[in-house]
Structure formats: C-alpha cells, structure tokens
Symmetry: C2
Subunit: 166 residues, 2 copies
C-alpha cells in the first residue's frame, strides 16, 4: 500500500480548543513527524454547526437559545486562538510543512471525510476532543474516528501531569 511505503507522508491532526488536541499535536511533532522529513501536517479544525447539537436526538429541548448562543460565541472566540496555538506549537517543535484547514460540520464527520478526501496516511487526535461541553453532546470524537477512518488513527491521551506547551 502506498501509505505504507510513502516517504512523503500526509498526517492529519485534528485540533480543537481542548488541551488534549494540543498535547496530541505536540506528541505527534516529537514522536511521529520526522525532522527534516517531507511530511506534511494537515491541521484540521472542525467547527460544529448549531444543527449538530439540536439534531442529536430527542433531548434537543434541553438546549435553550441562551445556551446555544453562548456555545456559538465561545466557538467563534476560540477558533482563532486554537489555530494560532497549533501553528505556534508546530513552529516551536518541528520545522514541518503545515497545511491549515477549517471545516464546518460535526467533527466526527469532518475528520473522517477530510482524511478520505485528502488521502492522508495517518490521523492524529486527542482521546476525546472538542471539550467537556461539546463532548457531552457529540460523544467521543476519537472513538467514532478510530472506527470509521480508513487510515491508521493515533489517539493521544494527555497525561494528568503533562504540560502541553513543554
């Protein structure tokens, strides 16, 4: 298989506002991406639309417009911060080629679709992703992707004592 012997690998790293994705990215940069390699890191940030929360199941009535508005604001405010944080990590840890992607949709679907569309050799992500709040509604993104992404999936947990930026 090409993905096995390829020298120029394309590695998709799913990033979000959670520390787990920042740690997953840093771990990948230090343990997976070869220095001076031709690897390309695709940083994928998925912004789940409101529909993701309301369309989940019969519990939609739980989400008041206040909560929705708060979550939307939160999502928009952190987006730029997350992207900058990720790029900074890449610059600091490894001089790898980075391709930034921002997609709208259920992170579970976005990650699976982009992995397929871009033909990446590997997907790297935190063990949960998308924070405690969203996870409560989305369920475990990593579980879904591990089962549905065709290429190898690396799930990185954040050790309790880990300092993400070290």
């Amino acid at each position: 298989m090409a993905d096995v012997v390829a020298k120029e690998r394309k590695i998709l790293v799913a990033i979000d506002e959670g520390e787990e994705s920042a740690y997953a990215l840093s771990w990948c940069l230090k343990n997976i991406v070869l220095e001076n390699s031709k690897d390309t890191l695709v940083l994928l940030y998925a912004k789940p639309p409101r529909a993701v929360y309301t369309a989940l199941d019969g519990t939609g009535y739980l989400f008041s417009s206040d909560i929705m508005a708060t979550m939307d604001r939160y999502s928009n405010e952190v987006a730029e911060c997350v992207i900058e944080k990720a790029k900074k990590l890449c610059r600091e840890l490894n001089d790898v080629k980075v391709d930034m992607r921002i997609e709208h949709g259920d992170p579970r679907d976005v990650i699976c679709q982009m992995a397929e569309k871009l033909g990446v050799d590997m997907v790297v992500m935190g063990s949960h992703g998308y924070g405690a709040i969203k996870r409560a509604f989305l369920g475990s993104v990593s579980n879904h992707c591990a089962q549905n992404v065709k290429c190898p999936v690396l799930i990185v947990k954040t050790p309790k004592s880990a300092a993400v930026n070290k």
Copy 2:
C-alpha cells in the same frame, strides 16, 4: 513528559492471528519505528483463557464444550505461528530490537496492564484484533484499549487491498 522527549522509545504492538495485527505491525515498522533507532518493539500476544468466553454474560449457554475445545485447540495451534510470523516481519522490515511477550488473559486487560507495567511510550494494534470469532465474544479490543490505555494508542486498519507481507 518522559514519553514525549524520550529518544529510546518502547513501543508495544499487540499481535494475534488476525491479518489486521500483522498489517499494524508492518505499518508500525515502516512508519513509526525509526531505522537505526534505539526503539524497542514489544510484541505482545495475549491468549484469552476459557473464562473469557464463558464469563462474558448470560449468553454463556451458547458455548458448547465442542466449540470451546475447538477454540482452545485453534488458539494453541496458531500461537507459535503468530509469534514466528511477527518476528519474521520485524526481521524483514526493520532491524529493531524486539521483546516478545506472551500473556494469558482477556486481551483487553492484558494489553492495558502490560502497557502500564512496561511503561511503553505507545501502543500499536489492529482496528479489531483477535479474529472474527473471538471478536464476537470479546468485542472490539482496540476500542477498549484506546479508551483505557494511558499512553498514545495507534489503531491501524488493514486496507481491503493490502497484502500484509509486502
């Protein structure tokens, strides 16, 4: 964290009689283990005891002694074959230091316990593991380990068209 900056990594690869674990091992040898590195590959083969099957749940009555005996024979017969196949892959693909481990118990528990006990930096495994028959009783080993192993877990699916030994 030590596992982030360590130069001498210990990578646990869960192997079984399934092609998925053989592919996972080969993918790991080609994409994760650095050539001429000080990485140590721990090949872990878990042999689930009979108790695993009978103690699962109320469906125990489904397993006749014939089926149990057949599964036990099958398990014992393939063990040596699996280990030799794995060692052969390592010799062929990468001159990495290999540490062979055979443990008895529910593969899900054995993999999580050994990862912890050996303090490995990473666990690599096929997306299911333990074959169609055992998987029906054990459930997905990779799902369980991805959720319970503390270190990063790489889940490798076998592409439909992949030839494991190429």
